[in-house]
Symmetry: D2
Subunit: 426 residues, 4 copies
Amino acid sequence: MISKEEFLKKLERGETRLHELENLIFESLGKGDDKWAEACSAASAVRLAFVEKIKSKKLNDIKTHFIDTAVKPGVVGIENQIGGAVTPLGIAGPIKITGDYAKGEFYLPAATNEAALIAGLSRGCKAINENGGAKTTVTRNWMTRAPVLDLGSAEKARELADAINQDEKFYEKVRAAADLESKVSKLAFIETFQIGKKVWLRFAFETGDSMGMNSVTKYSANAVKEIKKKFANAKLVALSGNMCSDKKSNHANIILGRGKSVEAEALIKREVLENVYRTDARTIEKINFTKNYQGSALSGTMGGFNANAANTVAAMFLATGQDAAQVVESSSCFVTAEDQNGDLYFSVSMPNLEVATVGGGTNFATAKECLEILDCAGAGKKPGDNSKKLAEIIAVAVLAQELNLLGALANDYELAESHIRMARGK
Amino acid sequence: MISKEEFLKKLERGETRLHELENLIFESLGKGDDKWAEACSAASAVRLAFVEKIKSKKLNDIKTHFIDTAVKPGVVGIENQIGGAVTPLGIAGPIKITGDYAKGEFYLPAATNEAALIAGLSRGCKAINENGGAKTTVTRNWMTRAPVLDLGSAEKARELADAINQDEKFYEKVRAAADLESKVSKLAFIETFQIGKKVWLRFAFETGDSMGMNSVTKYSANAVKEIKKKFANAKLVALSGNMCSDKKSNHANIILGRGKSVEAEALIKREVLENVYRTDARTIEKINFTKNYQGSALSGTMGGFNANAANTVAAMFLATGQDAAQVVESSSCFVTAEDQNGDLYFSVSMPNLEVATVGGGTNFATAKECLEILDCAGAGKKPGDNSKKLAEIIAVAVLAQELNLLGALANDYELAESHIRMARGK
Amino acid sequence: MISKEEFLKKLERGETRLHELENLIFESLGKGDDKWAEACSAASAVRLAFVEKIKSKKLNDIKTHFIDTAVKPGVVGIENQIGGAVTPLGIAGPIKITGDYAKGEFYLPAATNEAALIAGLSRGCKAINENGGAKTTVTRNWMTRAPVLDLGSAEKARELADAINQDEKFYEKVRAAADLESKVSKLAFIETFQIGKKVWLRFAFETGDSMGMNSVTKYSANAVKEIKKKFANAKLVALSGNMCSDKKSNHANIILGRGKSVEAEALIKREVLENVYRTDARTIEKINFTKNYQGSALSGTMGGFNANAANTVAAMFLATGQDAAQVVESSSCFVTAEDQNGDLYFSVSMPNLEVATVGGGTNFATAKECLEILDCAGAGKKPGDNSKKLAEIIAVAVLAQELNLLGALANDYELAESHIRMARGK
Amino acid sequence: MISKEEFLKKLERGETRLHELENLIFESLGKGDDKWAEACSAASAVRLAFVEKIKSKKLNDIKTHFIDTAVKPGVVGIENQIGGAVTPLGIAGPIKITGDYAKGEFYLPAATNEAALIAGLSRGCKAINENGGAKTTVTRNWMTRAPVLDLGSAEKARELADAINQDEKFYEKVRAAADLESKVSKLAFIETFQIGKKVWLRFAFETGDSMGMNSVTKYSANAVKEIKKKFANAKLVALSGNMCSDKKSNHANIILGRGKSVEAEALIKREVLENVYRTDARTIEKINFTKNYQGSALSGTMGGFNANAANTVAAMFLATGQDAAQVVESSSCFVTAEDQNGDLYFSVSMPNLEVATVGGGTNFATAKECLEILDCAGAGKKPGDNSKKLAEIIAVAVLAQELNLLGALANDYELAESHIRMARGK
């Protein structure tokens, strides 16, 4: 067995590269299946020591917060791991929810660096609870990937699109290829978009409780291979052609759906608005119109017709092990606020919540525990049940936070004052 | 001194509320200034115990990853803390950078749940290094907040806008009010936008090395108070009017700037493209056009003319304690790829990198250490130097990741295969 | 019979209102069916005389260019007509087209005030002809209207959407209602979009050779009435809910189709680029990327990835009697320019050409004649044939004009010089 | 002198090309300055005869509606003219306006093929008049052109941008070059935008009463030539780089201004809403929110937060000789509707009205007369006065039409019924 110090020296001398450590240590440990996690952990420690040496600094926190992401022999979780990055985790709520999947009272785990966020979220929950809680429903649910092919001419490109849309036998072959390697996922439909000689094929899959990006990429690749049997001259330009569209602000996802589309709503009584927010329904309605619609329209947004949905989405994504980069489109949100004779009808529409309770970061340490707090860790009874439940809970949390921020803004300078007060005395 | 168990019972009986624990325990500890952190830590533990009891589950990881965010007596860091949320942290690079602020070789800390991300980032760094590294520069730098006021008529609204834009004495008063409470920040300019009887005032501040959202909110509030001395009938609709625009996809930030605007570029030689990516400059150029421009145009994006900038932005934001919700607009990115006689000119333009090295989550545990790895923890010699350095490094990391993904896509199915291979054998 | 002078005096004394003239004169003429056009013409003359008197100016041109738009007794064409507005009409081309519907050589009528437009269009046609002309195809064809209904709760709104999407019997009833009063038009499909308690129902109809806006509004109203039988509490907020979306820049039309989606393409040989434009394919490709994609991306466009498609669309819309306000979305256009070993692959994708050869202004005087020049006046052999032909011709004209403008821009200052030279010596 | 028949034969035999006729006939007439208009008219007639022969059809209306656009010897107005295209012209109003430039009562000339448009416009005017008319003001006024230059590297590109923004002497030289050939126009400012190695320079000019597109293109070209003296390696990619942005939907114009930015507003009393529209302020407010904001947000618009602004803009542009292609961005419009204790505050914000009273089509026949009806033909007392007046009038017309359409929509199916009723009995 080779010592950590020796591996460290190998790194320093350039004999070993950072990403080779897992396998080398695994070998040095004798390669037993049970040794893989140990090797990964040791590799992580050696790399961290290497960085500490280069920077002449101790990195104790990174070391302390290491978590085991080893998967199985030969497969690392995250490459070149050196430890963990930690974000403060708080709890808001509870909030009463009546959803298709989420039913009952939930405490909301939220990981954030931002003071006032959890306090605001809790206050929003309180206001909603006083009226019996929020209702929520999932209206769409699929994950997409859109390869782009170059057919050489618009005529040929159209032929391909027509074959997908009109030739049932051909479609069936493509569908079969798409579903071939899948256990849980199922192709739902394909949409075609053409620019000149190129066609984007937007594959939409139901992916159970996993977010599904990686698997649908593979399944789409399989479908493309099938397509190329018939369209031999089709050139695959890119397996992802940005009509998917992943991790970029975009409007296609809003129109066509990606991830879960969720509605959440509540009625807030006049007295509650007065007691909790010293305001009234008409004022909230006007702020929503002026800020979330006119202001956002002026800013040129796609789907950003809300006050701060991303805050809640990011905090709950971090807590529950979602892909933080998907906060970009998952935070698309349309707020409705309507004065109904003094009471406030309040809703959020979230067209693109890309969440999972299986796979990715959801299996790791604190993420798994946060999902357990929400009673939706792992696969649901029926595929998709747990991830839809999670989506409903997050939508309701956004509802609470949006209500709270509009309520705060109704009091002129409260936004500034509360942030400053809570943001550690700066 | 009251024991944890007793506080737990108080919570259960509803006698104490979750957010009251810090102060109650602080009192019970005798209120010494040195007791605050202890009180916060204990409060966190009690709350976690409470959640464990309700859910009948042990939440050991959340407990283990607790980090101390206590600020000073009476000021909690994050409300209702119960522990920490941990994300695997890896290291990519090194990458050679010649920037205005970032100079030298940097290892890139990246926190992510996504397999293949760090491997890809490292491969991109390697390709760039073989041509001498990347160049980078910061072209704009300010933080904005845009209150919206209702003047009652378009005529009056215009008067306010004109006063800001044309009345130098009035502007000077407003500026003085905006800068009154500030130590580091300085008002740079105000832009006005009108819809009917309402005016949005977009205040832009230079904020040193802090991200600045909270402070500019306060300073904008002060400016609004000054404005209302002259325009007594102006009604503040919302201190944030969504022309700021924070945490929503939007185009105003791209045009007008928010956070740091950074350019990063490199020339990739023909041989490197062949060796590292088995491809050539013309192929990369065409993928960039078809995917990042035509595909993104088809998807209806604002600023999402890239392959996956958000992945890198999110991973480095998480590592360095930035606001994860700001990944939304910070990941705006325009990629240029041009075949220059077989070599590849490659650049990314990132108009809105909202980053800090001071304040917010940057002081916490692992975030601080990650900033130290990048030699830019805390305030720079001149205000802003460190945060600009961080922005340059992140832009170069995005450059590397974008190059790598386009290179991978050039090999037909590699994207699918590498993700699957690396994503723990699903 | 009452004289024109008497009617004029009645107008002046306020005894008669401008829009009443047709009926009053019709009565005074004795109301024969054959008198209606005469009455309309006389009413127009009286109104013009009234305006002349008020302004103390002779308006001879408006009088000269009067055209008869009378329809049938009791139905005026355009209300309050006083004459006609004339735009210079020129002819470009001919251009060789191989389309699904347009086949042969076509002279292109174009109405415009802009010097250089027709010259540029002709030069583009010439370049395309030298390579055998352009190919074109129509890929989608429907007209849409999207009423929005308020269901009171998100739950109920979802029920309505589900009924449309999943309840075949209900859908069949709605379809029957939509098609009830239609002779030519046919409901193609309905798409549903939800925000909170509201649902937008996007009805798509095939409308033969008419543009179809007005008729689909009526048919959608009939469908809504049927829907309200089942959903009695559904409140119709607006029969047009802006998801249609008519006469506003928007991305939904691009994704979902509205009007005709047309592709047009041509290969331009190296020598032609040299001879006609003193440039080469690579230069055109780079201008297209930098201007039409990076520049347009920077400007924040929806569908404006072209140089000046609207110029050609507007000029041919005016010539052929289309709705000028629909230039807004009909001019959406994506240009592709690819250097293929020195030759240039060039295409335009126009997702939203809203054109007709029947109804609206297409029956009037010069419009009808321009349609005759294009051999597509009136209804086609099969419904839709003529309007698709027109759409193909316009798309090819756009192709020619785009090619020409990029070619002009390749010569540095030619754009400025040619406009100035041609724009009457200013 | 050569006869028309002979020229016709020359065309048929291919000896003469269509665009050569003006000069050939001019020569045949002896070339006197007074012969140019005659030559242009004859050339037009010969070309029309040629088209008639080819198509074997008489085109009498095109001939009848010919208008003289000849400019001066050697300069044609519109190339290849064959006659005129006519659109029915009606008159709406009068409407009372209190603007900065438009003061008094105005009849509104509108050219359109759409039944119900003028009736609706008139009804809107009536409702506004009953409350004393509309107020309006012009808040911004400039025309822009944005060349794009390639500097080879981001560093160099930044240098250019910095020189424009910070080097006063250099800026002064560029300004002088921009203004050198101008009589009326004046450079107002330059804004810079960077993507990688490229810089867009957005020149903004005040252009008096002309729309200014062509002249600012020339002046921008002059400025670029001056810039290239200092930045010799700067490559002009395109004199128009689509950040101008002309005739494409875009958000930059909304933020930065192009053409005239105009506000128009009115208060509509409760009784007027009841009498004219059988509705109330709250209903109008809710339709505006649901349709013009939520619906438009859902549709993914840039600036299309209105019901049908383009209808009015197009109709008045056609009437007054504006550039019909500029309806695209000129119709950007944000509607505000607010219930104020039963009365309705109603406004439209039009950020981009690109209009002229001098040059282009404004000098021609009916266009000039329509401008005379509005008392704003030709140059104003001070440069810009007349074009601003026209912009104010159009904005108020849009105000009236928007009010009317929302009022019609408040009555469920009225939209469908009125269009059908008015649209000639189809």
